[in-house]
Symmetry: T
Subunit: 71 residues, 12 copies
C-alpha cells in the first residue's frame, strides 16, 4: 500500500465565474479519461480581460492520480 | 498582427468579500486610465486580519495591455 | 511603535466550499491560541479529489501576529 | 467558449542550429500525435559541448493544447 | 542524432525504505508503459508519518524519454 | 554619478521570426515614449502555435532606464 | 473531517549516516512534544565536512500535524 | 477603506554609502512624481566594483502607492 | 554531537534605523522566550513609507535554535 | 565510468549579434583554459541598450566539465 | 575569526549506489585540490536510466571552503 | 568591446559589524587573487548568533570579473 506510484498531469481550466469553478472544469474534463484522481495543486492563476472586465479565469493545476502497477 | 507589444502593470486590489472581488477591483481601477487590457496574472494573495477575522483580501496582479505603436 | 516584532505561523486550512473558506478555517483555529493576528499570506493552494470531484480545498497560509515585548 | 480546458506536455527539443530550431523540432514532433496545440512556454535552455564547441542546443518547453470535452 | 526530441513525465514514487527506493519504484512503474527512458530529475521529497515514525517516503520525479519521430 | 536612479518597465514583445526580434520590437516600441534606456532582462519566453507551427514568439522583458532627478 | 487544520514546524535534523537518518532524527525529536504528526516535506539538504569527509548531513524539513479544534 | 487599490513601481537606487542609502535615493526620486507611497520591497541587491573596491550599491525595490479611484 | 536537532522560527523585526537594527530587534525579542539560538537567515526585506520617507525597515528572518532532546 | 565528477563554472558571454553567439563566446573563452567541457545551462539573458537599440546580448551560463580524478 | 571568507565551488558527483555516495564522490574529488572544505549544499538530484533501471545518481552540490587571507 | 566574457565566483564574506562590511571583506579577499572585478550580486544574507546576540553577518555574493581572451 505504501509503495503506490502516482502520475501528475498539468491542466488549465477556465471559467467566467470563479477560480474554484475553473479548477472544477479542469478536474471534470480530466475525469473523462483518467480514473483514480487523488489530489490537485494550483500552479498559476491568470485570466482574460475583455472590455475592461474579467472575461474568464484560467487556472493551471497539476492533478495526481494512482497508476495501477501490473506487477 | 503578430508583432504586438504589450506592457504589464503591477497592481494590488483589495476586497472584504473574496479573492475574485479583489482582482476585479484592481482591474476596474486600472481601466480608468488604461485601455486595451488583455490579461492578468495573480502574483500573490494575502490579507489583513482584524479581531481574529479576515478584514480584507489583498491580491497582487500583473495586468497586460496592448501598446499602440506609432509606426 | 515602529519597532514591533511579529512572528509567523504556517498553517493549512481545509474546506469543501471554497479557497476563502479554507483560509478562514485556518485563521479561526489559530485564533483559539494566538492573539493579535495581523495578516496572512497564501503560500500554496491544493486539494483532495474523491470520485472525480473536489472533496476539499487545502490552503497553506502564513499568519503574522504581534509579539508583546517584555521590555 | 470561455470554459475551454487545456493540457500541457513537457518536451525537450534539440538542434545544432539555434534555440528557435530546437523549439521548432519539439513542437513538430509533438504535432505528430497531438492536435490543437495553442502555445508553448520555454522552461530551460541548455546544450551539449563537444570538442570545445556547441554540439546542439536542448530547450525544454511546455506545450498547451485544447482538450475536446465529450460533454 | 543531435535533433532528438524527449518527453518528460511527472511521477510520484513511494517506499517505506528510502528515497532511492521511492525513485526506483516510480521508474519501474513508468517502465511498464514507456520505453527509452533516459534520465530522471528529483522535484520534491516528502513523506507520511504514522505513530510518530516515517511510514513512507514520497519522491516526485520527472522522467525523460526519447520520442520516436515518424519522419 | 554613482547615485543614479533607474526605473524598470515590464514589456512583452512578439515576432514571427526569432526571440531576438521579439526583444527588439519591445525595446523599439518602448523607445517611442521612454528615453535613456540602459539595459533589458529577459523574464519569460513563450509563443503561439497555429496549425502545428510557431506563429510568433512572445518574450517578456524588463527595460531599465535612467530617471532624471530634479534635484 | 474535511475541515481539519494543520500546523507546520520547520526543523533541521542531522546524522552522520544518511539523509533518511537525519530526517528520522528530526521527526523523532519533534514527536517528543508534538502529537498527530501527519507528513513531512524536505526543504533543504546540506552537511558539514571535516578533514575532507562528510561529518554529518543536515536536512531541513517541514512537519505537518493536526491541530485539535476546541469548537 | 478596505477596497483600496495600489500600484507598484520597480526602481533601482544606487549609493556609494550603504544599502539603506540606495533604497532612500530610489524612494526620494520616486517621490518627485508619485504621491501616497506606502511601502517598498527589496527585490535584488548588487553593486559595482572599481579598483577592487565597492564603488556603489545598486538596490532594486518595488514601491507601492495608493491609486485614487475616480468613482 | 552530530545528531543535533534544530527548530526554525520565522520572525519580522522592524526598525527606523537600519536593516541590521531590524534583524537585531527580532533576535532580541525571540531571545526573551527561546534559548540556544544559533543562526538566522534573512528571508525578505521591506519597509513602510510615510510622507515620502522610509518610516521603518521590516526584515523577515528565520532563527534556528537547538532543541534539547529528552533521550 | 558512472562515478565521474564534474565541476561547473559560471560565465557571462556577450555578443551584438544573437543570444546563441553570446553563449558561443563564453564557451570558446572558457575553452582556452578548461578542457573536457560537456554541457552548458543558460541561467539568465540580459543585454545593454544604446541609443534606443540593443547594443549587445549578455547571457549567463554554467559550463560543466569533467574533473580528472587522480585516484 | 568572525571575518572569515569562504569560496563555493559547484560540483556534480555521480554514483550507481546512492545519493549519499554521489555526494561523497564529489567531495572526495574536490578534496584532491581544495583544502579546508567546511560544508556542502545539495542543489539538484538527477540520474541516468539505462534499460529501465537507474544507472547512476547525479547530485549537484556546492562546497564551501575557507580562503586564507594574506593580510 | 561588446564581446567581453566575464566569470563569476561565489563567495561568503562575514563581519561582526554590518552587511555592507561582510560584502566588503569578501570582495577584498577575492581581490588578492582576481583582478578586473566589475560587479557583485547578493545571493543570501545570514548570520551567527551567540549568547542571544548577532555574532557576525554572513553574506553570500557572486563577483563578476573580466576574463582576458588570448585571441
Amino acid at each position: 500500500m505504501s509503495d503506490h506510484v502516482y502520475k501528475k498531469l498539468e491542466l488549465v481550466g477556465s471559467s467566467p465565474k470563479s477560480i474554484e469553478d475553473a479548477i472544477r472544469n479542469a478536474i471534470e474534463t480530466a475525469g473523462e479519461s483518467v480514473r483514480q484522481m487523488r489530489w490537485f495543486e494550483v500552479i498559476e492563476t491568470r485570466g482574460h480581460i475583455e472590455d475592461g472586465k474579467i472575461a474568464h479565469y484560467q487556472v493551471t493545476i497539476k492533478v495526481g492520480f494512482t497508476i495501477e502497477r501490473t506487477t
